[in-house]
Amino acid sequence: MVSASSNPSSPVAGPAIDAIAVKVLISGGFGVGKTTLVSAVSEIVPLRTEELITELSNGVDDVSGIEDKSTTTVAMDFGRITINPELVLYLFGTPGQDRFWFMWDELARGALGAIVLVDTRRLDACFAAIDYFEQRQLPFVVGVNCFDGDQLYDVDEIRAALDIDSFVPVILCDARERDSTKELLVKLMEHVMATSRLADSVPAQQARSSAAT
């Protein structure tokens, strides 16, 4: 078995090959602080990976406007938290352009949950993300990124404006602050686990039929 222990020179020991790798998504509108949030807690400088939109995507309605451009790329950035050599958490920022749904599907597959960042000056920018996670039944929390104290609304007003279920946590945050971002992740994991317990208490048959839709 190869393991990270064979790499003593590495500044941060990475995971072992038999580690469990999990991911959460950091989502929200354009310029809302997704990359900033990832940088605040990641042990590595956020990396950027690109996916191609090729002729394979032609069947997807949402990219219908760009079929004449055969090699468009969509970028996503991500960070890593190695909890221990056996468990590593990846944080993936979703692409700012929410029309690239096929990329979201790849990102969401197997994700534990998501943080939806909102800027109260442009609340509507996060609607697409919220709709997507609600449809996918992926648990999410809302982080209200407080840009320079421009906090015009309280949590209840924001919740009402976003029209989200009362059990979805809405948390004021500062994506630049490590502690604030940690708190968001803690709230997310607690919410993910609570949602999961709830699903467990529903008769299995019912859970399956609702998951299938």
Binding site: V2, I17, A21, V22, K23, E50, S70, Y90, M193, S196
Partner: protein, 124 residues
């Protein structure tokens, strides 16, 4: 609409010509179900680098220590779909081994794992 042949030599696709040639135009690969967070590690890269194309050798060295597929793609700066094909080729030849991460067997993930993630974040 550009024909397939033109695409590889499109200006915008310039740097991609070589990897596409290597993967013979394959941009999708379902051989191993590689995911963004599938962990991969190369086996004896110093031995295998000599018998693969240089771009494949780069992949071998990037994952000398276990890394996710997403990290490999970011570090060699090629699109994810191309890197997945290259990794699958290397896995097929046993030059890379992989381990798929947590899999959603049901709609609900494993509680024990989630508790460990939560504890780990709290300790950061």
């Amino acid at each position: 609409m550009a024909s397939r042949g033109e695409v590889w030599f499109d200006d915008a696709a310039g740097p991609l010509v070589r990897p596409y040639a290597l993967t013979r135009g394959r941009t999708q690969d379902d051989r191993y179900g590689l995911d963004l967070v599938t962990l991969v590690v190369s086996v004896q890269p110093a031995v295998h680098e000599r018998i693969v194309e240089p771009e494949y050798a780069d992949v071998l060295w990037v994952c000398e220590h276990p890394l996710s597929v997403a990290e490999v793609a970011a570090k060699i700066d090629l699109p994810l779909c191309v890197v997945k094909v290259m990794l699958a080729d290397l896995i097929e030849r046993n030059y890379v081994i992989y381990r798929t991460g947590w899999q959603p067997v049901r709609n609900t993930p494993d509680m024990d794992t989630m508790q460990k993630v939560l504890d780990g974040i709290r300790k950061l």
